[in-house]
């Protein structure tokens, strides 16, 4: 039995069949026909105030749930506004499907109103994109898009839909409904299982190493591999660093946890990697913010590199054993291979010296800051510690990009996967508020705090109107230091304190009034004794968004720091800790 349908209804039905529960979007001319059937669909639509917000919400949703985020916007400027989230999702391997309207097929290439070459523009920042040319292709393309976005190395997929093929008034939209049983993509066969020979070789290296470190990346979270990672670490007794994208993939309160490596990583995580004789890179990609100067990175280490994307193996550092495959499956096999070798009597060398070296670094170089004296400005780290200690252990935390992001990644204790949502690869300022909204929509049972800087907040704050009108009770902590703080820090350290265009003013805008104008509860905190009461008040509000502006010390800097382009050996610790390890 056939069912006649139009492309617009087919698109919405295909999304329903893909299990989509929410679309973040904003309608406009070219996408109008697809918005009409949304009225009759069980899918929830969240009307954003700017298309960039829709994209970051879809990302936040995907981060928090593991399911693909979906955003839908119109053609032209709406499509260009969502390019940033697409690129962000591409860099951080976030599964996302974005649907854009397009001018009618016959008008493409005529410089029509609100026309832009969306598939052309988004080609380098999507895992794949489609320009639909025939209404009959819609169910197949939607299936393929979700399959591509969610399998292999996840990523964003865009579907560009010309208006005529979704408009029931146009004969080109007519089609017979069908739902493909499977996808047929001859050029797309994501790897899953690793090569058993290589896994065995990796297990041998692991048992032979004297100073091994597990270098866990965001791929652990994408592969739902946190449990097997823990099994591997505990079985072998090997310490684990978790990169910015992997915070939460290994519990910070675990005795083997070393915390975050990289440019603003803690001394022990950075230095353990530097001195290691075996790096076990699992779902991590040797990002420049982790390696520092590549030629000086972990010079004595052999490398085992496990990644779902074969192009990552050898891209930055040539591995001694490179295994292409899904992190969860490969680590599971690796655990088995290590057990087999242990059963056959293979045991690692004595690592007690290495363990005591590590605990020596931890004792000597913990994260630290100088608490504020009475009358001095609030320290951002103090705000974060208080927030951390007064929120549930499974609270979801999002952040923008800059100092507040680094302090949060350092000072929060992430003990559960999928509790940390941030923009790592692209470093997108303004990510925090919309990502928090998306995360809260996906996990309404969880408390969600957006940590933000004053610079970041001003980029996407309008989405709090979305949150207020949709009753999405996120909480926002603005660490207002009146500056583009990270840029200020670089100007202070590397540009002789010549502060060029980084001052933002603490009072303009008035964040409390702005929050209230957007339908949120607004608070301002200026002294340490106000911090806890404000947080407690915010935690008690569950029917609308809350914004707390914390007036923090402008001069505070993020330490430790490996200056850009330097070797990780040149790590600068907090000035109170002296010269570092060298």
């Amino acid at each position: 039995m056939t069912e006649n349908m139009d492309g617009g209804r087919a698109l919405i039905r295909a999304l329903e069949l893909e299990g989509v529960e929410v679309i973040f979007g904003l309608p406009g001319g070219a996408i109008l026909p697809v918005y009409d059937p949304i009225i009759d669909s069980p899918i929830r639509h969240i009307l954003v105030r700017h298309e960039q917000g829709a994209g970051h919400m879809a990302e936040g949703y995907a981060h928090a749930t593991g399911r693909p985020g979906v955003a839908m916007v119109t053609s032209g400027p709406a499509a260009t506004n969502i390019v940033t989230p697409l690129c962000d999702a591409y860099m951080d391997s976030i599964p996302m499907v974005v649907i854009t309207g397009q001018v009618p097929y016959a008008a493409i290439g005529t410089d029509a109103f609100q026309e832009c070459d969306t598939t052309g523009i988004t080609l380098p920042v999507t895992k794949h994109n489609f320009l639909v040319t025939d209404a009959r292709d819609i169910p197949r393309i939607v299936r393929e898009a979700f399959h591509i976005a969610t399998t292999g190395r996840p990523g964003p997929v865009l579907i560009d839909v010309p208006k005529d093929i979704v408009d029931p008034k146009n004969p080109r939209s007519a089609m017979e409904w069908y739902w493909p049983e499977s996808v047929d993509l001859p050029g797309y066969r994501p790897l899953t299982h690793g090569d058993p020979v290589l896994i065995r070789r990796a297990a041998e290296l692991i048992l032979a190493a004297e100073r091994p470190v597990i270098y866990a990346g965001g791929g652990i979270l994408k592969a739902r591999a946190a449990e097997v990672l823990r099994e591997l670490a505990e079985l072998t007794g090997i310490h684990v660093v978790t990169t910015l994208m992997a915070r939460g993939a290994f519990p910070d309160d675990h005795p083997l946890a070393l915390g975050m490596p990289g440019m603003h990583g803690n001394y022990t995580a950075v230095t353990a990697m530097q001195r290691s004789d075996l790096l076990i890179a699992l779902g991590s990609r040797f990002d420049d913010r982790v390696t520092g100067k590549v030629s000086g990175f972990a010079p004595e280490a052999k490398v085992i590199h496990v990644d779902i994307d074969p192009a990552e193996l050898g891209k930055v550092r040539r591995p001694d054993v490179g295994i292409a495959g899904d992190a969860r499956l490969v680590i599971t096999e690796l655990v088995r291979a290590v057990r087999d070798l242990q059963a056959a009597g293979v045991h690692p060398p004595d690592r007690s010296a290495w363990r005591s070296t590590i605990s020596g670094w931890q004792e000597r170089y913990p994260l630290t800051y100088a608490p504020s004296e009475p009358g001095e400005a609030l320290k951002p780290q103090f705000v974060l510690e208080t927030l951390r200690d007064n929120t549930p252990d499974d609270c979801i935390v999002t952040s923008g990009v800059g100092q507040h992001q680094m302090w949060t990644s350092q000072y929060w204790r992430f003990n559960h996967p999928y509790t940390w949502v941030n923009s790592g690869g692209l470093g997108t300022m303004g990510f925090s508020v919309p990502a928090a909204i998306g995360a809260k929509v996906g996990r309404p049972d969880r408390m969600v705090w957006a940590i933000d800087g004053d610079g970041c907040f001003q980029m996407t704050a309008q989405e709090l109107v979305t949150a207020a009108s949709e009753r999405i009770p996120v909480k926002v902590a603005i660490l207002n230091n009146a500056y583009l703080g990270m840029v200020r820090q670089w100007q202070e350290m590397f540009y002789e304190e010549r502060y060029s265009e980084v001052y933002l003013s603490p009072d303009l805008p008035d964040y409390k009034l702005w929050a209230e104008a957007m339908g949120c509860v607004g608070m301002r905190v200026e002294s340490p004794d106000e911090v806890l009461p404000a947080i407690e008040k915010a935690n008690a509000i569950d029917d609308r968004p809350v914004v707390i502006e914390f007036r923090t010390d402008s001069s505070e800097k993020v330490y430790p720091m490996v200056p850009a382009g330097m070797s990780n050996d040149d790590i600068l610790v907090d000035p109170s800790q002296g010269e570092g390890g060298r």
Partner: protein, 176 residues
């Protein structure tokens, strides 16, 4: 062809025959700063697929990364990197040569030596079609250059792997 150029690499890329695929492939080279030396693309015997033969100037290590990135394109089905000695390469050349009556017979003789074909004749010019290995075409191009080339178009090379031949003594591999 210049003598000191970086090494040529020959990639035979099987792609889905869909709009925009060439842009995806060519764009990937451009984004990574590679110059495509020549490019030939046409459908294969199966009209769902096209084959792109790309000659690219690159060192091996960066090329490996491009090939891996290329392999990530959804529409790319298969990539073979063909080593120069292990590929059959062919190219077609059309050239319009200045050939006034006093030198025309010399030109025709040269075309005969190279087993080319004269496909168009004018008062002072000839258009010649020549197929062969890229090296043969290079030689021909150099020699007719003495007479004056009015216009020249080469297709870029197409290539397939050379077939492996068993020696009579070599055992036939068992099935499975």
């Amino acid at each position: 062809m210049s003598g000191a150029a970086p090494p040529h690499h020959l990639l035979s890329v099987l792609v889905e025959n869909k709009p925009g695929v060439l842009t995806r492939v060519a764009g990937l080279f451009a984004r990574r700063g590679f110059n495509i030396f020549s490019l030939a693309v046409a459908p294969t015997e199966d009209d769902r697929f096209s084959r792109i033969t790309i000659v690219v100037d690159a060192e091996s290590a960066p090329l490996e990364q491009v090939v891996k990135q290329l392999d990530k394109l959804i529409n790319v089905v298969r990539i073979d990197e063909l080593a120069p000695g292990e590929a059959v390469e062919r190219e077609l050349l059309l050239v319009c040569i200045a050939a006034p009556p006093e030198v025309r017979s010399q030109v025709i003789e040269l075309v005969g030596v190279f087993e080319g074909r004269i496909v168009s004749v004018g008062y002072d010019e000839l258009v010649v079609s020549l197929e062969g290995s890229p090296e043969k075409l290079d030689d021909f191009e150099e020699l007719v250059g003495n007479y004056g080339i009015v216009a020249l178009q080469r297709t870029g090379r197409v290539a397939l792997p050379k077939l492996r031949r068993r020696t009579p003594l070599e055992a036939v591999p068992e099935a499975g």
